[in-house]
Amino acid sequence: MSLTLSLHTSPEVPVEADVISPDRLNNLNESALSALPVFHGNVQAKIGDFFKVQGQYNGEIRVEGDLSKVKHIGAGMTSGRLIVNGDVGAHLGAGMQGGKIIVDGNVADWAASEMTGGRIIIKGNAGHMLGSSIRGSATGITGGEIIVHGNARNEAGQAMRNGLIVIGGNSEDLTGVNMLSGTIIVLGKMGIRTGAGMKRGTILSMHDADLLSTFTYACTYHPTYLRLYLTYIKKLGFQIDDAKLSGNYERWAGDSIELNRGEILLYRN
């Protein structure tokens, strides 16, 4: 039986629980787990104050309940599986290095910020700064995969240096802003100012978009490599029809203010 943490008491103010991570919960029995510290606002509390702990870690942790005030779940994790049932608070999987997080619900801001490896699957929507850097830093995620089935808000993939972000729904403003490299695929629509300041990297949308004046139209073609990506995400459960697989994409180069080595691809037909 995998280890299950079920929320029994909703926190009044945010709980910071980076301790909910396979690295930290491994090899502990139920009572030791319950006694692990979390911060409830400024008060040091225990996991047991909020969660009913059942089972033994067998490579997988399940967390259940309305976790929208629980922050930092899975932050920094290096291995194992973390399955979250319910909406979850900020900084989910921040700085994650490996392993897998699956969220059946929505996640708040800064999910997967500065991630270096592993995979996060979000079945609902994501907040702002999905897979971004933390303030002041010029580098966001440097690896790993962030798979969102719903929508994402502003600054998805901000300053991303490597890795893959897939957004099944729409993204809002500044998708891939200051991107250094990597790939962002938005199956829905994007907001404005996509790719502002990007140096390298790819941003793909299946819809038209208003682009900044510093992006230059190159051609309409069907990039072979896209077939690899689309095939890959198809296997992850996204609907990709053949028209998209073999279709034509507008290629826009930018941002000319920076290196001008990035590309925005917009599906045409």
Binding site: S133, I134, R135, G136, S137, A138
Partner: protein
């Protein structure tokens, strides 16, 4: 009130009093070292430990507008290095530019009890004092930037040396500073007024004045006023290949008068502008060896994160061109410029290794350690937190060889660092970190453990690994207060402001005021700093001419 303390059985290193590792008691009363104390005094057992005066940092950047701008610029750096509070200390954040509280506590943690902020525009002196007030434990002062002050330059241009000296004295009083600081003299006007150019030669005239004229004027004024610490200069062409000539000329300009060259490592480069940088440490140190009127601090570069923050705005812009990192420029009207760029020194990079080796050469080639003071020009060459490691590099030849083997060998081959076998003794370390800077600063009560000295004392477990040893003294006493005992903070302390009040003829205000009213954006009457900002302070006497 602080009770009396007697430290017993420790090995004392006190170069000013010629004490080299002698076991003797140190007695403390009312914050000062005394001949003896009653038996009731608190005893500190220091068997197997080394006792030294508290460290004195003659050149660092720890408070004021550019430091705070650097702090604000780096949230990503603070985040990785939080500094929790304790029952007696405030919390803060660390990183390359720590918060004020963390700065004070971390200096104390390393056994440093005095530090001098090295570059403050007069207009921001008030700000600096406010930060220094929140910088705990250490005594502190600051050097005020006057070399690019347009009013003063005008007096020099017009040959009004006497009024110039009066005006400098007025400014020292108005700002509560410790000494005049010269940064890239003559370089501000080309930067601000001529589309970001610079002055390239000590004799190049911009708007009718050359750097040499400015340097000369300050050297003479400081000498005449008998300032405890002479003019403190950041030379022209800092950081550029071939600049050792400028440095030699700057030192020659002083003749036999006192002059302090700041972070001289950055000014010891051979080659031509923009190419073939090479070490000229030997040439520079030879001049210093023959000229006891010169002191310098090294400005050692340490590998890892640094933050270039300087009143030399063109220099920061040049660095920004290298790494394209975030860049701050900040002009202060009529007085100064400023540039800030995050920087990382990397062992595999040729020039960085060259800089690192040149710094070590300077230390190892000096014949008189009293003239060559330990600094990293924090945070320009690296954090002051690197001092223990730097001490180990000087004291431990084996460790130095190990470190040399890890860096760019092409650069190493261009220096003589591999051939220098010198190892610093504890006595010499006490000179370059304590006694030397105190003497250079004219702080008669600091840097030694004789009666009358401030009871700023560090007690270290004697250890083979000198980095460990200097990283964490077991006891730190500041003005006799037991700040740290058994490596734990036991008390907080505010520290004092050290400043000078040279006399001047009040008539000079009549000369300054019209200029001020035309070109400054604050009122003349609101410019000098009133007593409310002084808190604990000590005036260091300038003595009479």
């Amino acid at each position: 009130m602080v009770s009396a303390t007697r430290i017993v059985n420790g090995k004392v290193y006190d170069p000013i009093n010629n004490i080299d590792g002698v076991i003797r008691d140190i007695c403390i009363e009312d914050g000062r070292i005394v001949e003896s104390v009653p038996d009731s005094a608190t005893r500190i057992e220091a068997q197997g430990m080394v006792i030294m005066p508290g460290g004195v940092d003659i050149h660092c950047h720890i408070a004021g507008p550019k430091v705070n701008a650097g702090r604000k610029l780096m949230p990503e750096d603070h985040r990785k290095d939080p500094y929790p509070g304790t029952a007696v200390t405030r919390s803060g954040s660390g990183g390359i530019v720590p918060s004020t509280f963390t700065t004070g506590y971390r200096y104390a943690t390393m056994g440093y009890t005095t530090a001098m902020e090295a570059a403050v525009p007069p207009l921001s002196a008030r700000h600096t004092l406010e930060e220094l007030h929140d910088t705990p434990v250490i005594d502190k002062g600051f050097y005020v930037l006057l070399a690019n002050n347009i009013f003063l330059q005008n007096l020099i241009k017009e040959g009004r040396q006497e009024e110039f000296q009066q005006a400098v004295a007025w400014w020292m009083n108005a700002t509560r500073a410790y000494t005049p600081k010269l940064v890239n003299p003559g370089g501000d006007e080309p930067w601000k007024g001529k589309r970001n150019t610079n002055v390239h030669d000590i004799d190049e005239k911009v708007d009718g004045i050359s750097p040499r004229q400015i340097i000369e004027a300050f050297v003479i004024a400081a000498d005449k006023m008998n300032l405890p610490h002479p003019a403190h200069i950041h030379c022209n062409n800092l950081g550029h290949s071939g600049n050792y000539r400028t440095t030699l000329e700057t030192m020659r300009t002083a003749g036999d008068k006192r002059l302090h060259i700041a972070h001289i490592q950055f000014n010891c480069y051979g080659g031509e502008v923009g190419k073939q940088p090479a070490s000229k440490a030997a040439e520079i140190i030879e001049y210093i060896n023959q000229h006891p009127n010169i002191t310098c601090d090294v400005g050692q570069v340490m590998f890892g994160n640094a933050l270039s923050m300087t009143a030399d705005a063109p220099l920061a812009y040049m660095l920004r061109g290298i790494n394209k990192n975030k860049w701050v420029n900040a002009d202060t009207e009529c007085e100064s410029g400023c540039g800030i760029v995050p920087f990382t020194y990397q062992g595999h990079v040729y020039t960085h290794t060259l800089q690192w080796a040149i710094g070590l050469e300077l230390f190892l080639l000096t014949e008189n350690p009293w003239q060559v003071i330990l600094s990293t020009d924090h945070p320009n060459g690296g954090s002051f937190m690197n001092y223990p490691k730097l001490i180990r590099l000087l004291m431990d030849r084996g460790f130095r060889r190990q470190e040399i083997a890890r860096v760019n060998q092409k650069a190493i081959a261009k220096t003589m660092i591999s051939d220098l076998d010198r190892e610093y003794s504890l006595y010499e370390i006490a000179i370059i970190t304590r006694a030397g800077p105190a003497r250079a600063l004219g702080l008669k009560n600091k840097g030694h453990l004789g009666p009358g000295a401030d009871a700023d004392i560090t007690i270290h477990d004697e250890m083979e690994d000198k980095e460990m040893m200097f990283n964490a003294p077991r006891y730190v006493l500041k003005s006799g207060v037991h700040i740290i005992a058994d490596h734990e903070f036991r008390e907080d302390h505010t520290g004092r402001l050290l400043h000078i009040t040279p006399e001047y003829d009040q008539k000079i205000e009549e000369v300054i005021q019209p200029f001020f009213e035309s070109y400054y954006s604050v009122q003349f009457e609101n410019y000098p700093i009133d007593k409310s900002y002084m808190h604990d302070n000590e005036v260091i006497s300038t003595g009479s001419t």
